[in-house]
């Protein structure tokens, strides 16, 4: 892919995911970000997928302001992206497996943040932060599970079509290329 097209794609995806985050911000801990990052991880090169998560975190900081949570976003979302890339070959596009993984990620989201709090403010603060937010983590895990289970396959199909149009002939999503050439994505 040409560098300009690559930059545009990364920026547009980060902006789309940010818009999705803002759109659902009124429901605490119910978000499409995990699902959308998963789709990005399934369809883009690993480096580009990681860049999307970093641009997303920067966008969040620019709009909502700087705080310690920005540091969290800068490593937790790339971590989810890395997990998605690592499990891509094992899970394929199996919605059950991804829903389970996404659900566990949502359930552990507060714990990951609490690790950062423990490093920055002390272990007791980290534990207190985690315990305080457990009910939000449960909602996060359940909503992630349901959204991925229900939306992954149709969104994956739509994403494939859009990527085919964007990349044109001989792109990663070109139907004429074998599954091995395009990373197993059909």
């Amino acid at each position: 892919m040409k560098p300009v097209k690559r930059i545009v794609l990364i920026s547009a995806l980060a902006a789309t995911i940010f818009a999705a985050q803002v759109g659902l911000a009124f429901i605490p801990n119910v978000e499409l970000v995990t699902l959308l990052f998963l789709l990005v991880a399934l369809h883009l090169e690993p480096v580009d997928a990681l860049l999307v998560s970093v641009v997303f975190a920067v966008l969040e900081a620019l709009v909502w302001g700087l705080g310690d949570w920005v540091i969290g976003y800068l490593w937790i979302w790339p971590l989810w992206m890395s997990i998605s890339v690592l499990f891509k070959k094992i899970n394929g596009v199996n919605p059950d497996r991804w829903a389970l993984l996404g659900g566990l990620f949502g359930l552990g989201f507060g714990f990951l943040f609490s690790l950062q709090h423990a490093v920055l403010y002390g272990v007791s603060m980290g534990i207190a932060y985690w315990i305080r937010g457990i009910s939000f983590d449960i909602v996060h895990g359940i909503s992630n599970y349901i959204l991925i289970l229900v939306c992954l396959v149709p969104m994956h199909r739509a994403f494939t079509t859009l990527m085919r149009r964007w990349e044109g002939k001989n792109g990663r999503h070109d139907e004429n290329r074998g599954p091995r050439d395009n990373g197993g994505i059909r």
């Binding site: 829903a99 305080r132 449960i138 895990g141 229900v150």
Partner: protein, 149 residues
């Protein structure tokens, strides 16, 4: 489709049970019945600390937020609070009587601490007022200050 619906319903059921367990645990920490709670309010001014309120209150309130609501209802103090009880961290104290935070970036702000409340002591800090259970003989010190030390 039917299979997915069953899975969704099972997960929703598990979520409801987990959330119920968390709510029950949080509720079990609350101490019902009459309690004597001492509230001290200090304004950190250049001339030194000025105590504007030092009162021991008998209450049935379960959380500090409820106790502050009672104090306001009895017109002992006039609180200015931001947010809602149902917010993730509950309400924040913006002002007490004439001492109101004008610049939220520079302060001074109303902070509070307790050396008797077991939840504050074990966590090394106190939660928001609506998440802080109160126990008999607790002492809460509120300070209007620009310093976190």
């Amino acid at each position: 489709m039917k299979k997915s619906l069953v899975k969704v319903l099972i997960v929703l059921g598990i979520g409801a049970v987990l959330l119920g367990a968390v709510a029950w645990y949080n509720q079990s920490k609350l101490q019902a019945g009459s309690k004597a709670i001492r509230i001290v309010m200090i304004v950190d001014e250049e001339a030194g600390d000025v105590t504007i309120l030092d009162k021991t209150i008998r209450t049935d309130a379960l959380t500090l937020g409820e106790l502050l609501d009672e104090m306001e209802a009895k017109k002992w103090v006039d609180f200015e609070l931001s947010g809602e009880k149902t917010d993730a961290f509950g309400r924040f104290i913006v002002g007490v009587d004439d001492y109101v935070t004008e610049d939220s970036a520079a302060g001074p702000w109303w902070l509070y601490d307790s050396e008797t409340n077991p939840d504050c002591v074990s966590a090394s800090y106190c939660s928001g007022i609506d998440q802080a259970p109160i126990y008999d003989k607790d002492l809460f010190t509120f300070t209007f200050t620009s310093s976190f030390e």
